[in-house]
Symmetry: C2
Subunit: 345 residues, 2 copies
């Protein structure tokens, strides 16, 4: 395998010059640049990333922290994030960062931060957010991604989607189909705490769009469940026990909505003939369940791209990024499938 | 944050001694060992993994290559592999390694091998296996994992599950329920090539157990599809068009089986009353579809643990591992759920 020294020798320049030219740094004449690039191409020279990292005392990796990658949203995020990182010559460590108690594993965070990885992306609202600021390692670039409350950490760069808008789209779709007796299944980090909702912005958006149609969602029709298929199934069963007259259910994410489909199937309620169900996220499973789930797609790949690029910008040059950078990426969009239709007369 | 030097100073020994004691290397007296351990505990000293890696010119990471992490089996593998790696102080890079043409991205493999990662786990039979040996980087520990043909690469360490046994269990379950007209949906890397099957061992196991009940599977009842939900749906539709008399379908993995459930739903065939469906793998989705899928669980976490541990053994000391190490881990087991039952009379 050709080395930097091989390129330098053949091009008749120093190793430092080769390095600078190939990294588009420093000053070199156009002739030198052309010569170095030609020789590197001819030799098939590939920069040794670890050698470079060793020399610069840095590691060309970034790490993404989430509760666990079994959640389909997180695996879709990881898929897109790895591709985005590669486009900028970085590699992706994945860190399943929930402790058995469900809070953020800060020991793990610190073991990775600034040592193995040049920067961190911390995802998800379910990782003990109340005290996150105190947990974040100092001096290491961190980007929060896909957080519901973007104003909670005004000093930490954040990439997110317009969840309020996503909620509005879901509510508007049901109302425009003619539904007026609408239930909501909302996800919570702590379903054991009465009224705890993780998806505030989505819920507010839902309520707002429904209010435009004079639809309110009184408490029996708002059920909160843990943020999973099983949580959605249980919450939907409670909702339908308390109010069997609802004709549509909006869930604040797809896993909950898939649970709602299961609850309907168990009760032999036909979807969408007797009950419409809409999700929010657009995980690939939403297209694969039966009936296929109508959902609001939040453009997960855009979230991952935006998060990786903001983090790498911070790593390259923190001065170019505002301390409280908030980037809202993607455009939530209705994906209409088989689980929604007009209410039965 | 306390450094190695802080521990050395307080313990009254050299930095090298601290390093050796904490890594259980070299020779030190019991008293020195006790002293160093005590001081390290008192100070809350955590070894700086990157500093260690820099000093040793190595990186405490391993990389796992698969087509892409969107496949639920791969995300479950990655979840367990990351945990197994952490237990041995390593971190996990994930690499979605399929090129657009579906072969292994060897440029990526080489960029990671021996530079960013100390070793590689290469998963799955769908990554251009014919020429894999030529693609593997020299001098870097590699473990193949979850390969169907364990005798294809006699010189490469491999961790796998007994897929033949898994196939047998699936066939025996259907036969014991009383099914005799049984169809098989088998996965292929190249469904466009007539007769190409990826899951040879599973298929052979299925055929063997069915033969014990004098059940054969003539070609209209064996349909091959691409290894996905959609592939399973299409193959099942072909099978049921050609032979609507089958009372049960065995699929060579869960994604195909979920596709078979979808095909049945579209045709309004009741599962399991009119058609039983069994999968193979045990991905978490198999418990979440409706009806819940009966499957053969191949113990994915054991595969991941076994793969990571074999790789780290190789990294620690190649001499302790036979060149052709083949480890068959886990025990395939029937998980009976709602998608199988006796044939209708």
């Amino acid at each position: 395998m050709p080395t930097l020294e091989d390129v330098a020798k053949l091009a008749g320049v120093s190793g430092a010059t080769v390095s600078n030219v190939l990294r588009q740094r420093g000053a070199a004449s156009a002739a030198t640049i052309a010569k170095v690039q030609q020789v590197a191409r001819d030799l098939g020279y590939r920069p040794n990333l670890v050698a470079r990292a060793l020399a610069e005392r840095r590691s060309p990796t970034i790490a993404v922290f989430f509760t666990n990658i079994l959640n389909p949203f997180y695996s879709e995020f990881a898929f897109a994030a790895e591709r985005a990182a590669r486009r900028r010559e970085h590699f992706l460590l994945i860190c399943n960062a929930a402790t058995p108690e469900g809070s953020l594993d800060t020991a793990y965070l610190n073991a990775v931060a600034g040592r193995l990885a040049e920067g961190l992306i911390v995802l998800g609202s379910d990782l003990g957010k109340q005290s996150l600021l105190a947990m974040l390692p100092a001096g290491v670039p961190v980007v929060l991604s896909t957080w519901e409350e973007t104003d909670m950490y005004p000093t930490v760069p954040c990439v997110t989607v317009d969840f309020h808008k996503a909620g509005q789209l879901a509510g508007a779709h049901l109302a425009e189909l003619g539904h007026r007796r609408i239930g909501i299944v909302a996800g919570s980090e702590h379903p054991e705490i009465v009224g705890d909702v993780a998806h505030h912005a989505r819920l507010a958006g839902l309520r707002k769009s429904l209010a435009a149609y004079d639809v309110t969602v009184p408490s029996p029709r708002l059920q909160i469940g843990s943020d999973s298929i099983e949580g959605g199934r249980l919450a939907t069963n409670r909702l339908l026990d308390l109010d069997p007259t609802v004709t549509a259910i909006a869930a604040t994410n797809d896993l909950l909505a898939i649970g709602a489909l299961q609850a309907a199937a168990e009760r032999q309620i036909r979807v969408p003939d007797s009950l419409s169900v809409i999700g929010l996220t657009g995980i690939w499973m939403s297209a694969q369940v039966r009936p296929a789930l109508t959902t609001i797609d939040i453009a997960t790949a855009s979230l991952a791209d935006g998060s990786v690029n903001l983090l790498l910008d911070l790593i390259d040059d923190p001065a170019t990024v505002p301390a409280s950078a908030l980037r809202v990426v993607g455009t939530p969009a209705l994906v209409r499938r088989a689980s929604t239709g007009p209410p039965a007369r």
